[in-house]
Amino acid sequence: MSKKFNIDTVANAEATPGQALPWAELGLKQNEYDRVVEILGRRPTGAELAMYSVMWSEHCSYKSSKVHLRQFGDKVTDAMKEHLLVGIGENAGVVDIGDGWAVTFKVESHNHPSFVEPYQGAATGVGGIVRDIISMGARPVAVMDPLRFGAIDHPDTARLVHGIVAGIGGYGNSLGLPNIGGEVVFDSSYQGNPLVNALAVGVLRHEDIRLANASGVGNRVVLFGARTGGDGIGGASVLASESFDDAKPSKRPAVQVGDPFAEKVLIECCLELFKASVVEGIQDLGAAGISCATSELASNGDGGMHVELTKVLLRDPTLTPGEILMSESQERMMAVVTPANAAAFEAIMDKWNVEYSWLGEVTDTGRLVIEWDGETIVDVDPRTVAHDGPVYERPYHRPAWLDGVQADSFQGSSPDLRAAVLELMSSPNMCSKDWVTNQFDRYVQGNTALAMPDDAGVIRVDEATGLGVALSTDANGRYSYLNPYEGARLALAEAYRNVATSGAKPLAVTDCLNFGSPEDPEVMWQFAESVRGLADACQELGVPVTGGNVSLYNQTGGVAIHPTPVVGVLGVFDDVARRTPSGWREDGQAIYLLGTTRDELDGSEWANLRGHLGGTPPVVDLAAEKTLAAVLVNSSRDGMIDAAHDLSEGGLAAALSEAALRFGVGARIGIDELCERDGIDPFTALFSESQGRAIVSVPRSEEVRFNDMCTARNYPTLRIGVVDTENSALDVQGHFTLPLDELKEAHEGTLPRHFA
């Protein structure tokens, strides 16, 4: 059946050492190609070149980021590892949440494909991260999507927003997975480089953990799921590793098209394989397709694998061996199965009507040998492909312009506080994101305890006990632009605070580091500082990074995006029934503000509305964040608070507005005592973005106990008002009264006005 191509075999490569190969077109640099020749002791075959070029791309090899990412491992203490079942390096980290349950979670980027084809790019981003979760042995239970777009009124933004939001909804909703949170940010720095990050979380029993390795000589290697087509050939190497301005149209790969219904079948089929214990190792096929799966499985296992490539089931019979190795067709998995289990494996495939093909077997030769009709076209040490790629110590330096930017502190205020609150709450970044989140299923499967617009998404894991997890993702590109070290710490602090605000104890971290070109020393400095900041902050808060992803080359025409380290924090609940919602409900409950407010408007949403970006971001005090988190988690567990909302972008003004609008319940608030205590003016009290703050509503009967606890922990607490169900308004006494109808209209009108 196999068509005879003019196949470049290993023998041919040895016989024709002088033959020119298109290594530069495939994204390899001269020194990298020379290294391939040195490793092999001859020129690579066309198929080997294809494998090395995709696996040594920035996207797959982390060649520019590796030297920095090491800190995530180096700065992990034994105490931090307490809950870690699987750490960095596998498809996703696995965290013990008690009672024999574990969760696995990870965030990844799908930025470049989503710019080229928004719907399919975003959809396959969801599909890819979900397969990472399956390949750990877990059942996916929820997804989240942190999104960043260019200016809301730019003509190209609507194209991207419509396509990306519909793509995420189309794929995630079809899979039947709730989308429980994320972010939607508009900033002109993302104009040519929207950020589409996708997070998935899965649940498993401890004994169900599966790893990507191929062990046991003689075990068989099988590819199953969708057929292989020309999708995304060279996508990982070429598209995600180059700036758009130098990507010629011919370099644009065929777009990957996802099929969520095929993925749903694949999920159920894989879970049945795990339950029946018929697979020894498993790996999803994402970037770099079969190249990645074979080389990683082999090098993580006994070191050798033998594969006959003509056995791969094709959608397009004209594909060359190199293209088959590089194809990024979706909804495919590779597994290692003992010969004894082969029949059981086939029975499960047949039951789910999933196509499969046995490609070869595990060997102990230390070589990955791939044949085409019996002729050897690849003969490599799989470690050299998967793990020993180039590592660069890219030069970096602090940008000279940063001193000027940091000296340019925001000066400005507004005498009309009422108008200022309305302006803030209707602004692109602070307005209601309902228009987006309403297109996602948030409650499907019936285990969602909290979702957008609450601070964190909360999912019940165990129906009997109520054991569950909370997740939040955060990043602030403007803070990171002003100070990348502090910006990364601020992102972690906010995600950590959000999880604690919902009542969950923060346990572990995943990150998606979105930056410009690593070949620009100033961007590289931003990256290095961000990693250092995040690793230090993780150590201080005692939460380890379990895995994640780096997306570089997010720049167009020499202008990079704001450094955007998206941080996801996972927390655990003993019982999700104890979750704390963000909105007020009960009349007469006291509203307390926790934390201290300083004059910190640099990098704030208010400064952003005035077109200002300068100064230094808010100070982050992680010891204080830890205490605040303990206060919030304990108050939730002991039933001392009925609502809690963290203060972040937009400060107290945003927190009060959101807490009121959540359930349409107003409040009477006094800020004069706060101004006096903290030595600030009313405008600063409302719009400053000082960290370590939250508002909570406390039932009358619990006030004494709550105050005692805050005093015992020495955390600043101030009673700033009461919940008022009578007057449907946010009444900041002595300053302004805002009817909730008016606030709601301003808050909810913005996205429909631009996109509906």
Partner: protein
């Protein structure tokens, strides 16, 4: 009244989940003679008067910018059909 018909098909190398689903359903109905299915779409642009070359050019432009997604689809036909011919 003349119409301009525009046919759009997914590019040959692009996965077509709908076509795949139809191909899977055919044998269940006992229709086993087909090796594959690709599903496209057809637009009919109604024209009030004459179809001038300019108008046909406009239709071509609409076909490549609005009616199809050039990243994943090809315009396979832009053709005038007279009412009485239908």
């Amino acid at each position: 009244m003349p119409r301009i018909v525009v046919d759009v098909m997914p590019k040959p190398e692009i996965l077509d989940p709908q076509g795949k689903a139809i191909a899977g359903a055919l044998p269940r109905l006992g229709l086993t003679g087909f090796a594959g299915v690709r599903q496209g779409k057809r637009f009919e642009l109604e024209v009030a008067g004459e179809v001038t070359p300019e108008l046909l050019e406009q239709a071509r432009s609409a076909a490549s910018t609005l009616l199809s997604n050039p990243v994943i689809e090809d315009v396979t036909r832009v053709e005038v059909i007279q009412e009485d011919a239908e």
